[in-house]
Symmetry: C2
Subunit: 331 residues, 2 copies
């Protein structure tokens, strides 16, 4: 089977998205603030969220362009959360690039995040919605999603101090921290294109499952991906003691020597490369990685199923392929 | 002449504002995040921006209630900027209260600011605007204002590293950092109430002058106010080397012994209480304080003049009184 490559399949949309994204970062007077704001967006990215907005609009019979301002807004918001996340986590690199606060200092990083957030709403206000009610709902949807992301990040912070957490809590956290923006992108795309309530609900449920699958697969990639593609060392989530679905499964199921091997590396900033590799081997042998992969695929399958109420179309097919891509991508 | 006390004159509006503001902070699931978000708003405040929104709506013949969501949104935004400002400036107290990041830690402070920002737009989306175009313009106005505030804060950061700056640069900075939100509050109130372009422009110009006057007067209060009312020691702006209009005038005009006395305390974190008091005396004797007071009054007079195109009304009279209050208040 030929590999589905979004960069190829969505070349036309991606060109529109990149152009609109670049325009959205213009007109910032101070050159330092302007560069700090553009630091991540101009470093590239898969632009999954804007693609989702445009495909959602098309899948309900509208035009992708109607959802382009929304898509760009959500992409800016995604980037704003990355900037503030990196400050909170004191991360020094992202995808091999020095983080914004490392490059420009903490105050500028906070301001750049805030300014990206504000600019997102300036862009959203240019949505060519015919229906005034749609515009109001778009604003409520996107601002509610950002608040939800902050609540998810707060849960993530709380979980850091706990030995372990129930899977249920993990899912609540990623539902808020990751899926909320996917939902804003996809459901918002439907709203911008004048969808029916049934169509809207289909895209909301699709995006939720897609966000969960995306996040869980991201956790898996942290253990199996090429570190160059990843931009960070394999297993760094284990070293940082991150409560991924994989770690939660390992903490719940490992016994004896395997458990000791895992705990030697988990949350231990001084774990050696060898100790980390041994912990990864244990996690693979114990089925924790397979458990997470299975969960990721499960949520992607549910996401695709959610699209059934939509009339078959090229856009719907693309959304299905995009969902599959989430759990087959290698970076 | 009897003293104009906004708490008395606007008792009815303030009751509405406080109730709406309290409601706007409900529904945050995590108790720590909820408390961090409410830390400043629930500590009280003059609520000048929501008052401005409501009075602006009334002054163009509308209802204050039409502008209440906007007013609450701008108040939340004002509080969000305080939270992030305190992180950037590493301030430990605000009005005698420990700052959010001191109380809850830096990550929660960043998140609480972000969540206040997001919630502001959730509230703004409830504006009962009849005209769909008005809602779009409100969103563009408020989001543009926040981005402008971030640009003003960036200027403020840049100015920290300079020996001095031209007055022109100072005015550009406070126009962005302070006036922008006043403009959003007042011009937005007019928009929410369906004002004519002429009415809108009157309230925009009024709010701009008011913001400038407010900020310059704030700088003056830092030297003359009761430290208990101020919540910080008298002269701390001098110790911190802040480029206030007063400091800029002193740097431009002082010569000889007076200049040396001022420079001994200016930007010197180890300046003694006595050195600080001597610097304040020099600044007063040299006319720098009087210069700033004059500028504050000048912008307030211009602000009031801007209201002339509006039909005389109780609301217009109240706006004039509020402007005067800006440069007569002692805290």
């Amino acid at each position: 089977m030929e590999r589905f490559d979004p960069r190829h399949v969505f070349r036309a949309q991606l060109r529109e998205i990149e152009a609109a994204l670049a325009r959205s970062l213009e007109g910032i007077e101070d050159p330092i603030l302007a560069r700090a704001m553009a630091h991540y967006p101009s470093a590239g990215g898969k632009r999954l969220r804007p693609l989702l907005s445009m495909l959602a609009a098309e899948a309900v019979g509208g035009k992708g362009a109607d959802a382009l301002p929304l898509g760009v807004a959500v992409e800016l918001i995604h980037n704003f959360t990355l900037v503030h996340d990196d400050v909170m986590d004191e991360d020094e690199t992202r995808r091999g690039l020095p983080t914004v606060h490392v490059t420009f200092g903490l105050p500028v990083a906070i301001l750049a995040g805030d300014a990206l957030f504000a600019r997102a709403f300036e862009v959203l206000a240019t949505t060519p919605a015919r229906d005034p009610h749609a515009l109001r709902r778009l604003f409520a949807l996107v601002s509610g999603a950002i608040r939800t992301v902050a609540e998810g990040q707060q849960l993530d912070l709380l979980f850091e101090d706990k030995r372990t957490i129930p899977e249920r809590a993990y899912f609540e956290m990623i539902d808020k921290k990751t899926s909320a923006l996917y939902v804003a992108a996809a459901q918002g795309g439907a709203i911008a294109a004048g969808a029916t309530p049934r169509q809207e609900a289909a895209l909301r449920d699709y995006a939720r499952g897609m966000g969960l699958g995306f996040q869980i697969w991201d956790d898996c990639l942290g253990l199996i991906a090429d570190p160059r593609a990843l931009g960070k060392p394999v297993g760094s989530d284990i070293r940082n003691g991150k409560k991924t679905l994989i770690a939660l499964h390992a903490l719940r199921t490992l016994r004896g020597a395997g458990r000791r091997t895992f705990l030697r590396a988990f949350g231990n900033p001084r774990a050696s490369r060898r100790e980390l590799d041994e912990a990864i081997a244990v996690v693979k042998a114990g089925g924790s990685l397979a458990h997470a992969e299975g969960q990721a695929r499960h949520h992607i399958a549910r996401a695709k199923g959610s699209l059934r109420p939509l009339r078959p179309s090229v856009a719907r097919r693309r959304l299905e392929q995009l969902a599959d891509f989430m759990v087959t991508r290698d970076r």
